[in-house]
């Protein structure tokens, strides 16, 4: 019977931990996507550097949430291109044939990835006084993808949370009923304890302690399961998501995980015992 209670507790806590891991994966993915998002504003070929820096200042002033903004001159762009394609003779030849530097000066704007911020930056760049300076803004194509990614993650987040809450409610009910079975076995004993004058707390204490103990034992089991899972799953996950190490995530968040597992387990055990006992104390 106690084994059943611990087993159900282990499942509940593991579920909680799994959700926590999922949260880690999720945050990592969003961060990766956000880091890849930027806007490039290309200026007309003959714009003065001074004017471009003016636009830059304006952006920094009016859209303070911008992560970074970098000015790339025509010359810089050419240099980058040449370095990148140094061993590609066809391309370099084509470039020399053009004669002039075909690149446009640009501002690389890196944002936090929030679509709202996108709109803000677009509004600033589309002001009439910049119309003559800016040749084109490279973001409209990306914008859709980004918005899609955002809506997907937010749907996943919301759906996941709803599912998690539902699952946890179901499992709490199962935990509750399992502990109820454990305590039901002591029904007559509780009645006798009451008959000889034991106070509520005197009767309750051993059961509540037992509940806490179930929670604590479940914690130890779950902690081991979580650690081993993270350790063995980490290499596989790293292939799918380069740069993400589940085991390191586990180590970095160990305190929080302990808190979730121990807190969740003990709280579940104690609260269930408490509620079940209440019924018998009334009698």
């Amino acid at each position: 019977m106690s084994v059943a209670a611990i087993f159900v507790l282990v499942i509940t806590i593991s579920l909680l931990t799994g959700l926590f891991f999922l949260h880690g994966v999720n945050t990592f993915l969003i961060k990766t996507i956000q880091e890849k998002i930027d806007i490039t504003a290309y200026f007309t070929s003959d714009v003065l550097e001074q004017n471009i820096l003016q636009v830059k200042d304006e952006l920094i002033k009016d859209a303070p949430a911008i992560k970074s903004i970098e000015y790339v001159s025509k010359e810089d762009a050419l240099k980058v291109f040449n370095e990148k394609h140094a061993d590609n003779s066809v391309l370099s030849k084509a470039l020399t044939e053009v004669g002039d530097n075909p690149f446009l000066p640009a501002l690389n704007i890196r944002t936090s990835g929030d679509p709202a911020q996108y709109q803000e930056i677009a509004n600033i760049l589309n002001q009439p006084q910049f119309n003559d300076l800016i040749e084109k803004i490279d973001f409209s194509q990306k914008k859709d993808t980004i918005e899609k990614v955002f809506s997907i993650t937010s749907i996943v987040n919301r759906f996941g949370l709803a599912l998690a809450i539902l699952l946890i409610l179901v499992v709490i009910l199962v935990v509750f009923n399992t502990i109820k079975l454990v305590i039901d076995a002591s029904k007559d004993e509780i009645a006798t304890q009451r008959l000889v004058g034991a106070s509520s707390w005197f009767v309750r204490a051993p059961f509540v302690i037992e509940g806490a103990l179930f929670g604590a034992i479940s914690f130890v089991i779950c902690f081991l399961i979580a650690g081993l899972t993270a350790y063995f799953l980490a290499p596989t996950l790293a292939i799918i998501m380069p740069g993400f190490n589940l085991f390191i995530y586990f180590l970095q968040n160990m305190l929080l995980i302990i808190l979730i597992q121990l807190g969740g387990g003990v709280a579940l055990g104690v609260v269930s015992s408490f509620i079940v006992i209440r019924k018998y104390l009334k009698a």
Binding site: T192, L195, V196, G197, S199
Partner: protein
């Protein structure tokens, strides 16, 4: 100390066990309640302990209506009562020692006292060499004696004994009865329910006789007359 006021108890659907019963037991009295099997002795005792509520009427303990007080107060009253029950009501998962110790813990006695008192009581009641047995490893009479030990160990203000000698041989029955008399001499109230004619007649104390749900006799130096 204990007062029944026009108490009627009807078990659903229609078993009338007690019918408009009134009587009072003063502090320090020794009262026997007699009656045929099924007369309602156990029911009456259960009402003093708040295990049954009267269908109509009131049961008072020191002026408090048992049916109306909250559970904290009820537990306080139960701690002042040492009960010996017909079905013993022992704790099956605890040893003989622990069964007696438990009731001392309930009353907030400290470990030192418990270590001292429990062996003494078990010695008196003749269960010393069964100290570490569980109730289901005891004979019926031994279980009954354990119930007696448990009821006496806290020197409660009131002893309520429902057939405390039903399972005992004459020698042990006599021992238990003299224990009850001794406690009564020390000023405690004793309520005894029994079938045992000889016992009642030897006692020479107040006897309440119940028949067909009514008190048909209540005499200060009563005899068993059914």
């Amino acid at each position: 100390m204990i007062k029944f006021e026009n108490v009627t108890k009807i078990y659903l659907p229609d078993v009338t066990v007690l019918d408009d019963v009134s009587f009072e037991i003063a502090e320090g009295e020794f009262v026997s309640i007699v009656g045929k099997s099924g007369a309602g002795k156990t029911t009456l005792i259960r009402m003093i302990l708040g295990l049954e509520t009267p269908t109509t009427g009131h049961v008072f303990f020191n002026g408090q209506d048992i049916a109306k007080i909250d559970s904290v107060e009820l537990q306080k009253i139960r701690r002042r009562i040492g009960g010996i029950y017909q079905d013993y009501k022992l704790l099956p998962t605890k040893t003989v020692f622990e069964n007696v110790a438990y009731i001392m813990e309930v009353n907030g006695r400290d470990n030192e006292e418990i270590e001292q008192e429990v062996p003494k009581v078990l010695e008196v009641i003749g269960l010393k060499d069964k100290t570490n047995n569980f109730p289901d490893q005891l004979s019926g009479g031994e279980q009954q004696r354990l119930a007696v030990a448990r009821a006496l160990v806290n020197y409660p203000d009131v002893i309520i004994a429902d057939e405390p000698t039903g399972n005992l041989d004459p020698y042990n029955a006599y021992e238990v009865l003299s224990l009850l008399e001794k406690i009564n001499k020390a000023g405690k109230t004793v309520i005894l329910s029994t079938h045992d004619r000889e016992m009642i007649n030897k006692l020479g104390k107040r006897v309440i006789t119940i028949e067909n749900g009514k008190i048909i006799r209540d005499e200060a130096k009563g005899k068993f007359l059914i």
